[in-house]
């Protein structure tokens, strides 16, 4: 497969840590010209990501913005537009939630999860479209969007809405040459796992139930993202690609 990222200009929301960082680095490693790395508030981790991206001779621009707030999405894109005249790729990894039973959610916890994880995707895409002559958009979902995972109600509901948003946007944007898809990963080895109550047990049980015999690594998802922005995936439109080592088969 030829490089999917060669010479391209990309934005990765939530791109400074975990899966987002792995995707930012993979874009750089595969020859992207410029990667805008959006992050929420951890300046130290963002700087680390910038250094790692720049090691691949790729321009890295860190953009701190809280995507739960539309005005900050506006500022993010104003900054992008001051730097480049187009975007080729947008990969949406930003997400924020509270791990607790669904019935225990407070209205503000529901709102923050939906706004930071799902509404943010729509608002970013609205600003991406005028910058894309043609391009690829990928949203990060998870198995919890289609099945029940204990204490994952808020995020699972937000991911279900995200996958639906992907389908509607894919239909509206395909005629413009912009493909929109999603990736649904299983349990991925990032800091976020630690937010689950009793995360060690969760990991052990997930490994037992995964035919591939391990939990996912961020790089597993980054490789799928590269496929979905490549021309080899040109006929995939509005789909959520499950990449979970077989976890969802049983």
């Amino acid at each position: 497969m030829k490089s999917a990222a060669l010479g391209r200009v990309a934005l990765v929301s939530g791109g400074s840590r975990g899966i987002g960082r792995a995707i930012s680095l993979q874009l750089a490693a595969e020859g992207a010209d410029t990667v805008f790395v959006n992050y929420l508030q951890n300046d130290v981790e963002a700087e680390k990501t910038r250094e790692l991206v720049e090691q691949h001779d790729c321009q890295a621009h860190l953009v701190r913005a809280n995507l739960a707030y539309p005005n900050q999405i506006g500022q993010l894109f104003d900054q992008i537009e001051q730097t480049v005249d187009h975007l080729d790729v947008f990969i949406h990894c930003a997400a924020l939630t509270s791990m607790k039973p669904t019935l225990a959610l407070r209205p503000n916890q529901w709102d923050l999860t939906m706004n930071a994880s799902t509404r943010s995707f729509l608002l970013c895409v609205k600003r991406c479209v005028p910058l894309m002559r043609e391009g690829a958009i990928v949203a990060l979902s998870s198995l919890g969007g289609g099945r029940v995972i204990p204490n994952y109600g808020a995020m699972g509901i937000a991911k279900a809405a995200l996958e639906s948003t992907v389908r509607y946007l894919a239909a509206e944007l395909a005629p413009k040459g912009i493909r929109v898809n999603a990736i649904s990963g299983g349990l991925i080895d990032t800091e976020s796992i630690r937010n689950f109550p009793d995360s060690e047990t969760l990991i052990e049980e997930t490994v037992k139930r995964t035919p591939a015999g391990r939990i996912g690594q961020p790089e597993d998802i980054a490789d799928i993202a590269m496929f979905l922005i490549s021309s080899e995936s040109r006929w995939i439109c509005g789909q959520t690609l499950v990449a979970d080592g077989g976890l969802s088969l049983s």
């Binding site: 508030q41 809280n66 739960a68 924020l96 939630t97 509270s98 407070r106 503000n108």
Partner: protein, 106 residues
Amino acid sequence: MSYTNEEILSKFQEIVADALSVDISEVVPEARVFSDLAAESIDILDIQFRIEDEFGLKINRDDFGERLAEGLGEEPTAQDIDARFTIGWCVDFICEELQAAEKVEE
């Protein structure tokens, strides 16, 4: 834009009451954010975001944590932090941040 200390307290009380779905009469200076108002970690983030949006601030989480633990010894307990982390302490913190940003009326 600059704020008086009374305006900061009043705005902060509104933000906390709305975020935590509690009556504003409960958001008194001596109320402990965790044990009296039942805030969870995501609520602290939510309140932080609302403060940043309302007052045009960027709060550094490490600074915030260090200031909260200041003077509580090498390894403060959860109880120590809970007792320190009151509405009044938060308002003082915001006032100091706004003063540093020259946004408080003398």
